[in-house]
């Protein structure tokens, strides 16, 4: 089990030559260790195109997001067009091509939370952080996401920061939550 690697913008400065299973040489803008990790993930699923979604899950777990270069490498290994990989990545809301913030904020907008005022809470986060849903603050500290029902309907409205759950959040409480993480 290799550790989590964060792909920083600098990572894309590298150029590596890789030989795929078809014997064709490819150059990818990723450093060797990341390419090796992608290969390892794809290998663990036998490079089976049917496992594309599992491969992407694993890659996103590892890297935090799915930059174009990673998708390219995955497509290469599974022998499918990269357009198809991108089509899958953009279809499922769980996959992201933007790195999440250090403290990803997820606001539940499931029905139970909605009827208990999640919309206003979301608006407040957007106002306070000055970013839209799906974006990350320029300093990389926070990102906002919406999700549908974490199943904590009894605590509605629910906000998650990372894995921590905040229940019965009111718009007034938003500032305080953000303050907990801005030191």
């Amino acid at each position: 089990m290799s550790q989590k690697v964060i792909i920083t913008p600098e990572a894309f400065e590298y150029m590596e030559k890789v030989t795929g299973t078809d014997g064709v040489e490819v150059r990818v803008n990723l450093p060797k260790e990341i390419i090796e990790q992608i290969n390892e993930i794809c290998d663990s699923f036998d490079n089976d195109p049917g496992e594309l979604i599992n491969v992407l899950h694993e890659a996103q777990n590892r890297f935090g997001y799915l930059p174009a270069e990673v998708q390219d490498m995955v497509a290469h290994n599974l022998h499918i067009p990269v357009a198809q990989v991108y089509g899958v990545v953009t279809f499922y809301s769980y996959f992201s091509m933007i790195p999440k913030g250090e403290h990803p904020i997820s606001i539940c907008v499931g029905t139970a939370c909605y009827v208990r005022g999640a919309e206003r809470v979301l608006e407040e986060f957007i106002k306070e952080l000055g970013i839209k849903v799906g974006e990350t603050t320029p300093d990389g500290r926070f990102s906002i996401n919406c999700l549908r029902c974490v199943g904590a309907c009894g605590l509605a409205p629910v906000v998650l920061v990372g894995d921590k759950v905040y229940g019965r959040v009111s718009p007034d409480g938003v500032k305080q939550i953000i303050a907990e993480y801005s030191s």
């Binding site: 064709v24 150059r27 803008n29 174009a68 390219d72 067009p81 357009a83 809301s93």
Partner: protein
């Protein structure tokens, strides 16, 4: 057999027939939009997405999409009840509500399936107003993507993936923002697109169209200091008439020549001439390689692959960078023509290279890209300046108010207008290799070929093979059209399992007669067969049917090139290939 009732008519059909086809058998044409089919080619697109073809099936809760619903015994179907009509019109209005209203200036106006439906259903108002999905416009040397006009019929995605196995296009995003696009919504130019243009030929709307070069040609023609030379590809003459209402398969060579002359081209030449030239070079290369192989030269690569199709060339450059030494190095007829026109011919008539404009009329969109490739330029000046499609030529003729149907038959100019029957069949799948066999046979055996027609090489099967007896030498010939078929043969070559000595590949299904620059076939695969038949008929009627017997070609070698494969021939008529997949770079635009 099962029996069902459609609009009160009893129909008996095979089990497994869709309602749409059952209705057709009963003479009822149910309107469709996303459905597309070239049945002879085994090509079918039926995602069931547009819901225009819905019909009412008695006893069924909701309406059934007729293109994907199998007819069942005893079904009672209504194809135009109020419920059906209201549903169709509502869905049509919905599609229109997410479609730009610029029909008047749309490249597809008049050929647009969506527009046709709006006319058919008398859509006069649009009650559904709201946001329209908007995307970046993307212009490549051959194809323009204006996917605001995409209606998600998925035909292009199907062609690009299932038929061509190119994989440049896929459905991306979800819901209202979903659209067919290259990976990362990057430009086609940066994608593995081969510019085969099949996506353009199946697109029902103006979302995918060719890059139109007519205006550059009008400019060139109106510039008195330029000598404008035009060449016309074999397949164009078999299809151009369709744009003027003539039945498919009408050969309009003479009228086409007259029209071009009326349009003001200084010289009207024929790509068939350079097709003959291609056979001389490629045929020679084939024999050289085969001889070398027979002599045990381990450096010889077999099979030899034809290289006249630019979509195919792009395809192997992208997908088989490890096999770049396998295809013939011979340039395509379009580029051979340009090279000869701007050297041999320019010299002959005393025109400087830069004062000559070479225009090609092609059934193809990849040719637009091909003529822009750097290796086909001398000092920045391209051998072929502009390439227009059959459709663009038709439109140009109409703009110039030329009454095409009344035109007398004209003759090509000399010397680059003389050609043989071997050249004209280049437009059909199997035609190039047949032409090559005619010449190679005689060159190899030194005997006269009695049976000129190689029927074993003809047909519409995606992959065909034949063994030709060269007087004891058994030559295994493979033919593929459609790039997925080509991929199968190429994978065998990569694995070293190919039994072939020579393989002809055409990117488009049917070969150039089915090229992406040809008049739209609207799913009528009979059209391709008729065009192909017209070209074979033209071959039959030609006095000379072997490339090496073309007097102008013989003269060209005598006066200028020397031998096939000579140094000068190599310089002018051969090329090299470049790996395109060895660098995965992504150019995202903000």
């Amino acid at each position: 057999m099962i029996e069902l009732t459609i609009d009160k008519k009893k129909v008996r059909v095979e089990k497994g027939t869709t309602i749409l086809k059952a209705a057709r058998q009963a003479g009822i044409e149910i309107p469709t939009l996303c459905h597309y089919e070239l049945c002879d080619m085994g090509i079918e697109n039926k995602p069931g997405g547009c819901r225009i073809c819905v019909v009412e099936v008695e006893g069924r809760r909701n309406l059934a999409p007729s293109c994907i619903t199998e007819a069942q015994d005893g079904m009672v179907i209504h194809t135009h009840s109020i419920r059906v009509l209201n549903a169709r019109k509502t869905v049509l209005r919905l599609i229109i509500s997410d479609h730009p209203f610029d029909c008047l200036v749309c490249a597809k106006s008049g050929h647009c399936d969506l527009q046709d439906l709006a006319v058919q259903f008398g859509i006069r108002s649009q009650p559904y107003v709201g946001e329209q999905s908007r995307y970046r416009k993307d212009t490549s040397p051959s194809i323009i993507r204006d996917v605001d006009k995409c209606i998600m019929c998925r035909r292009c995605e199907m062609i690009c993936n299932e038929v061509q196995s190119v994989g440049a296009l896929a459905a991306v995003n979800r819901g209202f923002m979903s659209v067919v696009a290259p990976a990362f919504e990057m430009n086609l130019e940066d994608s593995p697109c081969t510019y085969c243009g099949q996506c353009v030929s199946v697109c029902p709307t103006g979302a995918l169209t060719e890059k139109d070069h007519t205006i550059e040609i009008i400019r060139a023609l109106s510039n008195p200091s330029k000598t404008v030379v035009v060449q016309t590809a074999p397949a164009v003459r078999a299809a151009l008439g369709e744009e003027f209402g003539m039945p498919a398969g009408t050969l309009v060579t003479g009228k086409m020549v007259s029209a071009l002359r009326e349009l003001g081209f200084d010289y009207v030449f024929d790509t068939d001439f350079s097709a003959d030239l291609t056979i001389m070079e490629e045929g020679t290369e084939l024999l050289q390689r085969v001889r070398g192989y027979l002599e045990g030269d381990s450096n010889v690569r077999l099979p030899i692959l034809t290289s006249c199709c630019p979509g195919w060339v792009n395809f192997f450059e992208h997908n088989y960078p490890d096999l770049l030494d396998v295809p013939s190095t011979a340039k395509s007829p379009q580029q051979m023509f340009g090279a000869i026109a701007k050297s041999y011919f320019a010299e002959k008539i005393g025109v400087k290279r830069n004062d000559m404009i070479v225009v090609s009329v092609m059934p193809c969109l990849a040719k637009k890209y091909e003529c822009q490739r750097d290796e086909f330029k001398v000092g920045g000046n391209p051998d072929v300046d502009y390439s227009i499609s059959t459709r663009e030529l038709a439109s140009f003729i109409k703009q110039a108010n030329i009454d095409f149907l009344e035109l007398p038959d004209g003759e090509f100019d000399d010397p680059l207008g003389e050609s043989t029957g071997a050249a004209v069949i280049f437009g059909n799948t199997g035609g190039v290799i047949e032409a090559a066999c005619r010449t190679a046979y005689e060159l190899y055996t030194g005997k006269k070929l009695e049976k000129v027609d190689f029927h074993e090489l003809r047909g519409m099967d995606g992959i065909r093979s034949a063994t030709i007896d060269f007087n004891g030498l058994e030559l295994n010939i493979g033919i593929a059209h459609g790039l997925r078929n080509a991929r199968k043969l190429l994978d065998e070559v990569r694995e070293g399992k190919s039994k072939f000595h020579a393989i002809e590949v055409m990117a488009c299904p049917g070969g150039c007669v089915g090229g992406a620059g040809q008049p739209f076939n609207h799913g009528d695969s009979g059209v391709l067969g008729k065009r192909a038949a017209a070209l074979y008929a033209a071959d039959q009627e030609m006095p000379i049917r072997k490339s090496h017997e073309n007097p102008s070609i013989i003269k060209l070698y005598e006066e200028f090139l020397g031998e096939p494969g000579s140094e000068l021939a190599h310089k002018l008529l051969h090329t090299e290939y470049f790996a395109k997949s060895n660098e995965v770079t992504i150019h995202l635009q903000g």
